[in-house]
């Protein structure tokens, strides 16, 4: 897993406390509105997202950039770059 100190995002999907598999459904919709090369930030407290999001990117040809480092918060920040 790649950890990012800082990553600028063009859009955010806030899925904190929203149940699985919302972490896959909402990003799939939001990424449609982004331009190629733009970054989507996914906020989630669901541990399974650490596996699911990179796997989804690999399957759908999007670039998984990594997980943001933020020890203050009790949720994850994952970043995807839209490739197509």
């Amino acid at each position: 897993m790649r950890f990012l100190k800082e990553c600028k995002a063009d859009a955010t999907a806030d899925l904190v406390y929203r149940v699985c598999p919302m972490h896959l459904l909402e990003p799939r919709e939001l990424i449609k509105d982004l331009k190629q090369g733009q970054v989507l930030e996914i906020l989630t407290d669901y541990d399974g997202a650490l596996e699911d999001i990179p796997a989804w990117c690999a399957k759908n040809g999007q670039e998984f950039l990594g997980v943001g480092e933020d020890e203050e918060e009790d949720f994850y920040k994952l970043y995807i770059r839209k490739l197509h």
Binding site: V16, Y17, R18, V19, P21, M22
Partner: protein
């Protein structure tokens, strides 16, 4: 025998147009909105249309509405969901002393099981919360304040905007239980301005078993019913589609009727209040005399028990209540009336009449004919009343 129903805060009939709109969704359009085939997708679309109607009624956006099974569930999701989502910031809640049980007990749950501290905010003699007093109780650990918009027990409508502004200025979330007001008076979430607002179906002429929670923008909530991705992952359980269609239709209908409805209800209420005060001595009109729900008249009739009066009225075909629907069965002194500073012996005589558009002037006249002799009869064998009269005569 004539039947006059004056307990619309407890239950209402479903409006005919609403019922007709609901019926096809029990048997004809029964698909699960989460299903991927067209039978499900069609229902999902209908569900979203209803969400838009409910949002429009309170000036919200469609994405800001979660459907629930009741106003009580909406209150639970608001209080527990928002408090738990923000507990890292602090564990202090403020609720008014005259809230519905679903707010009070949700707060007590957090106190008992999640180490929250809860302040039960006092009210004045009319049931109003003072914004300056609220300000004084806020601490850096306060994460949520919940104050009812209108009281189904005493009719008082709070100065909600002033209270909400106090919280917004301090960065504290503000929830209001608007079950009694949405569908009775205009409610607009942006101008109030609240972060969370609960509403329920029956107050609008929709069926029981449906409600909704408004949550501002993308405010985080910890789900209280754990399940699937229904309601965008905020509330598990397949949506009650027929009831939600009822809520959406009722919301659309009531929006254009609010002014005429309020005029009709307040005219009947004023007739009832003036008539009752003229015909029955020693009656206390509870709640705020002016700033109140248009169809709400609540009293404490001295020297009698409210339950006995209800019984006598029901024998004449008149149906009313002594306070909240659940509290009246417990035969306990109402905590709401106690919070207003009303003495327990006076509070025992609580009686609440809640009107709807279906009521007409002759209903009020019938009540005003039947109520005074019923009170007189009950007082004639009331030792409390006799003692009081003897004291007056002695003085």
């Amino acid at each position: 025998m004539k039947r006059v129903y004056l307990d619309h805060a407890a239950a209402t009939p479903v409006r005919r147009e609403v019922l007709e709109a609901m019926l096809p969704y029990f048997s004809e359009f029964y698909g699960n909105p989460a299903a991927v085939y067209d039978l499900g997708a069609e229902i999902k679309e209908v569900l979203e249309e209803q969400r838009t109607q409910v949002a429009r009624l309170i000036g919200a956006r469609r994405e800001e509405i979660v459907f629930t099974s009741s106003g009580a569930e909406a209150n639970n999701l608001a209080i527990k969901g928002a408090a738990l989502a923000n507990q890292k910031k602090g564990r202090h809640l403020i609720v008014s002393a005259i809230e519905h049980h679903s707010v009070l007990n949700a707060a007590r749950y957090l106190e008992k099981f999640h180490d929250f501290e809860v302040t039960f905010l006092p009210v004045d003699q009319y049931g109003l919360v003072d914004p300056q007093r609220l300000q004084k109780f806020l601490t850096p650990a306060t994460v949520l304040v919940s104050i009812q918009h209108g009281s189904n027990e005493i009719g008082t409508i709070q100065n909600l905007a002033e209270l909400a502004v106090v919280c917004r200025t301090q960065g504290v979330l503000f929830h209001t239980d608007a079950v009694a007001t949405v569908g009775q008076v205009p409610v607009e979430v942006q101008t109030l301005p609240v972060d969370l607002l609960s509403l329920s179906g029956p107050a609008l002429g929709a069926p029981k078993g449906v409600g909704a929670l408004y949550f501002r923008d993308k405010l985080r909530l910890v789900p209280q019913i754990h399940g699937g991705i229904q309601e965008n992952g905020r509330r598990g359980g397949t949506e009650n589609v027929p009831a939600i269609v009822g809520l959406g239709q009722a919301a659309a209908l009531v929006q254009g009727e609010l002014d005429a409805k309020a005029r009709h209800l307040s005219r009947l209420r004023d007739l009832l209040v003036a008539g009752l005060q003229e015909r029955v001595p020693q009656v206390l009109y509870t709640g705020h005399p002016v700033q109140r729900l248009p169809g709400h008249a609540s009293f404490c009739v001295e020297g009698i028990e409210g339950e006995a009066l209800l019984f006598m009225l029901s024998r004449q075909g008149i149906y009313a209540n002594t306070g909240s629907a659940c509290a009246s069965k417990a035969l306990k002194t109402s905590p709401v009336l106690t919070a207003l500073g009303i003495a327990p012996d006076v509070a025992q005589g609580s009686v609440v009449f809640t009107l709807s558009q279906d009521n007409q002037e002759d209903d009020v006249h019938y009540l005003l004919e039947q109520l005074p002799p019923a009170v007189e009869r009950l007082r004639s064998f009331s030792p409390v009343w006799r003692k009081k009269m003897a004291a007056v005569a002695g003085a």
